[in-house]
């Protein structure tokens, strides 16, 4: 340890050269755990809505609990997808400018589409 070029502060913070530490890994696990019950709820809900028309879907989504769970599911799922696709891009895309472009688009795609989904739920909740 005495011969290490790393400073004591660097070792204590444990953030590494990317200054991010285990944050990405941890958030991927945290969202994964949250998605286990949320996914079962999501599939059960969709199964119960098979054949429903727009008004029945709107009525169902107007309940605070389904709306809350749907927003939690969407937010967690899109965040989890953003984290996962980021690793896939980093692993397989080696041309620097292509990689950076795809990483930016990954963020834009997940935030924009996730935002549109959550907004739709809110519109239905508040009397769409």
């Amino acid at each position: 340890m005495g011969d290490s070029l790393r400073t004591p502060l660097s070792r204590v913070t444990g953030l590494g050269s990317a200054k991010d530490g285990t944050h990405h890994w941890w958030m991927q696990r945290l969202t994964a755990i949250a998605l286990v019950p949320l996914t079962f709820w999501f599939v059960a809900s969709l199964a119960s809505l098979v054949g429903a028309d727009r008004d029945q879907v709107a009525d169902w989504m107007a309940g605070p609990l389904p709306a809350l769970l749907m927003i939690l599911f969407l937010g967690t799922a899109f965040y989890h997808f953003k984290l996962g696709l980021q690793v896939v891009i980093e692993d397989y895309v080696h041309a620097e400018w292509v990689k950076i472009t795809l990483l930016v688009l990954n963020n834009f795609f997940c935030i924009a589409l996730g935002g549109a989904c959550v907004l739709s739920v809110l519109l239905l909740l508040f009397g769409g």
Partner: protein
């Protein structure tokens, strides 16, 4: 860049396909596929918020043969990724690394994903009948 054309190692194609490696890459493939599938969910939600005509259009596509096939694939990919994700979480906790366990839990995940997919679709079609 000088490093661009270096040969890549390992040469994956010389290895015999095994349950471990196949399920590992399948986890990534289903993950990316599910991300693409969110477009369908987004369409359905946005259409519901837009109005009856938009919702009928989305519903007509989802109810078509191609729509149902995509939804079936999405359901299985979702349950596979969910079950194999739980397998990963167990590994993260430090359990199930020996070869017997890895093989057993691998096949368990495959069977569980198929059973859960079947249950979800039976439930869905049951609702339709009511």
């Amino acid at each position: 860049m000088a490093t661009q054309d270096r040969p890549l190692s390992p040469h994956l194609q010389v290895y015999r396909p095994q349950i471990t490696s196949m399920l590992s890459i399948l986890h990534r493939i289903t993950g990316v596929g599910l991300g693409a599938g969110t477009l369908l969910i987004a369409w359905w939600l946005i259409a519901a918020a837009t109005g009856p005509e938009a919702f009928d259009t989305a519903q007509a596509f989802i109810g078509s043969l191609i729509g149902r096939l995509i939804l079936l694939g999405f359901t299985w990919a979702l349950f596979y990724h969910l079950c194999n994700g739980i397998r990963h979480l167990v590994w993260d906790a430090g359990y199930g690394y020996d070869l017997d366990s890895v093989t057993r839990t691998g096949w368990l995940v495959v069977v569980a994903s198929l059973v859960l997919t079947a249950l979800a679709w039976i439930a869905g079609y049951g609702m339709r009948g009511l």
